[in-house]
Symmetry: C2
Subunit: 645 residues, 2 copies
């Protein structure tokens, strides 16, 4: 954490100085830059991101009357933890959450029909995939952390609750093209009109914004019913504190997700297959049904449920919206997007792979910095087209994965299926059975996907084709910057290199030095720094507004090959010790050296001749360039950053 | 973190359920159990500890009108971080603080007189000494964290500010023996009387409590003057982000302590030697003097100070009170202590070794659980005698260390001294000079002492003579329990074993198993568990009140030698899966296995035949027993825990 730059300030440094000219946060103004609809994970992530910019007027409305306290999603993938770190609250989640360290697979005991036995036991997340674990925590707490980020931001953003979007109209000739009609609950109900430059519908599977922009969720019918419950229970099932999948011979399937606090556990219980067009609500299921089903599946183990904190029944279906913005399909190049949808508003699927909350938050982590860059005049508005393109592809992959995962999870164990229609569920063909070993292999194979680290954005202006990719094979263009341990030169602190990418809307240029003395004439470092600091073609000079800190738009960091005791800080290029703030204090956190125990050059397969890795504000690798490719750097940023005013 | 035991509860689990019958916290009641005087580190640590117990009425008064915002101490030793973890806020400190990773030593450049050159550069804390680093953070933030612990406790304790203790009288015939007269600031000033069972003076070097109990601080006169300032500055001194000691030839000495936030730095500047009886305040020094002195010492490096957040001048002296409670020296066995002093009220010394705040907090971490145990009827009141005994010895060591450290720090480099009285300070004998290499060696040698991990309490009822010490050489009786990584059996989570010792007043019995199958007849584990769970001589049975959780007073944990995948949780002794709370939920966090990368049995030299390590509520090892020494366990607790009601 860096603070006190503008003078010593007592108190909690996480609480930003309130912006002097920040718009008042009480009540909805007539005009806003961005109106976020919905206080779920997607909406709050977007609001948390935008709240960092006092020059953007953001509001977030939610039709519920207050914050969520309970239930719903709970899985937090490694990649999401990396994002939480960028927002500054990963340590709170690490402390409070359940850590998914291992997963076990239970299957019918071939020797004792009607009972289950542990099959494989695997490490949940492969070593080195992320510096963060896969964890489980009540969605309500994730909301709380994001609300704290908003509350502590310079704009002190708070949601407007009890606000329902009832109409939406776009007039692109207007400076604030989107007119939104909102009903605020109360007596009497108040009808308000807000005009926005951009509206983002994060309002869930029944999204009003999606409906009002004329888009639909298309996909499978949902004929597989599941129940979920968070319980405090006593059991002799030994893996109740491990994530466990349980396939029984005849009683269906169960997923055990241990929860935070050491006692709570979530159980996903498979229910009957539904008839065509039937909805699970029509069956009048109670939590007693769920408990009884779980008890049957767990046999011979006992389960005594003492409290049900939350429960629900639902159908599984995979549905997707074909575009996540309001640009007509046939006019992509002419019109700019002004209305967006994110999260469940554009993709729904089963919850059991723990993806929903994660993909939703990462939708708006993708969108947030783009909206900010365009609204702040840093980037051309065409940047906004990349949101739907990039995130639709991710959603499509998720839907495809989930369809297969849900099919394999719900299929009876093959041994059972070969006995015929033992479950009495009518539609089951013997051939539908899945060998538990196949399911386990699929689970392992998809580990990187479910961890969220496989997302790979297609080439575009912001994920450039990289002829120099071979210089840093571990930083794949389009994928998230895979952090690695390093040692900070100035204070010898072991840190994670990826943690320099905070959720502040800035681009990062991470320079991996060649093996020469970086203060000498044979190194590419002095010439690169000279170019960045002084050349009219320097993207840093070009994109940084006058009077701003030199790293306000592009934050340049350097990683050397020498040990941190081998370099002389006072002979490094001044560009890497930039002067900032009203006093012109030096920033000592731009230079790093390898961790002796795990050299980043080896870990990420970086060429010893050095290279330049450009990282987007959402932590994805934008391009890889040769160390001396100054022109390449100029060219890359020419397309994504405008000249500063 | 464990929570939801008594039912699901939404919101932040760190905020305890308010105690139903907790005394009102507004205003000072006429009678309290404990009155803490002074909101410094010692007082707040004690209040944070006592606030956890709703059955104890605690109040803390402070003569200042509000919380500290700035200045004073900043060093946080590894051992103190371990204590912070017990209070649940170590991660906040880790995030915000400066980490002291390396220390450099600068000395006169023999080749260029009048300039300085870097001598040694060392790792600040030896590897493996603690799982926590040595860090630096503004004392005010430490106060904030402790205030949060109080605020979130079941008693919701808040300080009473603007309250000055003006009189104190002890009448041991009374149930609340100490009568304290307090003036509360305001218009008009309000005079109040509070009767307390115990009063603890944490009111600093000029302690009113100490004076009113008739004790004095005795020690050296303070004829060495220093200045300290927290500055935002620009410099080309390359080690400004490393802890550095600088000895100049003729200009005196400087200590550089980088501070949190990446920009702030603390400078301790040596000033002139004082005349006999002279006080530094009389010299009318300004911060300009300090800056000028620092600039001279740093030559040839430049230092431009842009803001001075805080500064002070002071004399160094080592002073100690000969007893930390109100028991007369000649009547130790007859009378029980009712008034205590802690922190600067009983020991003062130089700040440069970063010990003051640490030792003060550890004073009251030692006292807090003892007061709680006596007031709650768990332990005999004679336990309170151990506070002064144990902490006086620590303070004496500190004084001795500091005297030597300050002497070596302030002495001129020997090369300079041999030139005669070059500094013009009159009293300097040439022979007083110290070879910089000797100072550096002393610094390294004393690393464990300054880290706070060397504290070794003398034998007593609560640090028993341990004939079985050889069974666990790494857990030295009287020293703090040195944590080590382990894997939790039930959920395969990598955790630190020492972190089971939270600041909750409970004793821990950590059972290191033998190498047999712990579920089989040849292991000592089933018999030990059977003894603890059922034998009338079991200290757990004897000390635990009826209706309490089985681990409410003594928390038993087991560490096995087998890997966590090799043991069957459901066949472990039920005593190690205790049923707790209103639902009788199982506690799955009692059993651990070695971390494959660092086996605790090897790390701490634990006999493969197993043993029992008893740990005090303040994390110090109380005794080590053979695994089958059930009688030893009975005997140990017979002296320290009373029969439960």
């Amino acid at each position: 954490m860096q603070f006190h730059l503008e003078g010593f300030r007592p108190g909690d440094p996480a609480i930003a100085v309130p912006a002097e000219h920040a718009p008042a946060t009480d009540g909805l103004p007539a005009e806003v830059d961005v109106l976020v609809v919905g206080c779920g994970p997607a909406g709050l992530t977007l609001a948390a991101q935008l709240s960092q910019f006092p020059d953007i007027t953001t509001r977030i409305v939610e039709q519920k009357t207050g914050r969520l306290v309970l239930g719903q999603a709970d899985g937090i993938a490694c990649r999401t933890m990396e994002m939480f770190h960028a927002f500054g609250f990963s340590e709170r989640v690490l402390k409070e959450a359940y850590w998914v360290n291992e997963t076990t697979f239970w299957e019918p005991d071939p020797d004792q029909p009607g009972t289950i036995v542990r099959g494989r036991r695997i490490i949940d997340t492969e070593d080195g995939l992320s510096e963060f674990p896969h964890v489980i925590l009540n969605q309500a707490r994730v909301h709380d952390f994001l609300l704290d980020v908003m509350r502590q931001s310079p704009t002190r953003l708070e949601p407007d609750y009890a606000c329902r979007v009832v109409d939406l109209a776009v007039d692109r000739s207007n400076d604030h093209p989107v007119t939104v009609t909102i009903e605020r609950g109360g007596d009497p109900v108040e009808v308000m009109t807000v005009r926005a430059r951009h509206v983002v519908g994060c309002d869930g599977a029944r999204s009003a914004v999606r409906r009002l922009m004329g888009r639909t969720l298309d996909g499978d019918s949902a004929n597989r019913a599941w129940g979920v419950m968070d319980v405090l229970a006593v059991t002799d099932f030994p893996d109740i504190r491990l994530k466990s999948t349980i396939h029984s011979t005849d009683e269906g399937n169960l997923l055990v997700i241990p929860r935070e606090g050491g006692h709570l556990v979530r159980l996903y219980v498979e229910l009957d297959e539904l008839d065509e067009g039937e909805r699970i609500r029509s069956r009048d299921l109670t939590s007693d049904h769920l408990v009884a089903a779980a008890q049957r599946i767990l046999h011979p183990y006992e389960l005594a449920v003492h409290e049900i904190a939350w429960w629900s029944v639902y159908e599984i279906g995979q549905r997707l919206c074909d575009r996540f913005d309001d640009v007509p399909d046939d006019d992509r190049d002419g019109l700019l997007p002004h209305v967006f949808i994110a999260g469940d508003a554009c993709h729904t699927h089963s919850p059991k792979a723990g993806q929903g909350m994660n993909v939703s938050m990462r939708d708006t982590f993708n969108l947030g910095w783009k909206l900010a860059a365009v609204l702040r005049g840093q980037s051309p508005p065409e940047l906004l087209h990349t949101y739907s393109t990039e995130r639709h592809a991710v959603a499509q992959e998720l839907i495809d994965f989930d369809r297969e995962f849900a099919r394999m999870f719900s299929a009876p164990p093959r041994a059972a299926a070969s006995d015929g229609d033992a479950r009495g569920d009518g539609g089951q063909e013997p051939g539908d059975g899945v060998d538990p070993a196949d399911f386990q292999r699929y689970f392992v194979k998809k580990g990187r996907f479910t961890a969220g680290t496989e997302t790979h954005y297609a080439p575009s202006a912001i994920t450039a084709a990289a002829p120099a990719q071979h210089l840093a094979r571990g930083f794949v263009v389009g994928m998230r910057f895979h952090s690695a341990p390093v040692v900070r030169l100035a204070d010898a602190k072991p840190v994670h290199l990826g943690h320099v990418v905070e959720a502040d809307g800035r681009w990062r240029v991470i320079v991996f030095a060649d093996d020469q003395d970086p203060t000498g004439p044979t190194s590419g470092i002095p010439t690169l720094c000279d170019f960045l600091a002084h050349d009219p073609l320097s993207p840093v000079l070009r994109a940084t507004p006058a009077g701003s800190d030199p790293d306000a738009v592009i934050d340049v960091r350097a990683v050397f090959q020498q040990g941190h005791r081998e370099l002389a800080l006072d002979r490094m290029p001044p560009f890497l010790l930039p002067r900032k703030g009203r006093y012109g204090l030096q920033d000592y956190e731009k230079m790093f050296c390898p961790d002796p125990a795990a050299d980043v050059f080896d870990l990420r397969d970086i060429d010893r001749g050095g290279c330049i890795v450009v990282v987007r504000p959402d932590q994805h690798v934008a391009t890889v360039l040769a160390l001396d490719d100054h022109a390449g750097l100029t060219a890359f940023f020419a397309d994504v950053l405008l000249d500063a005013a």
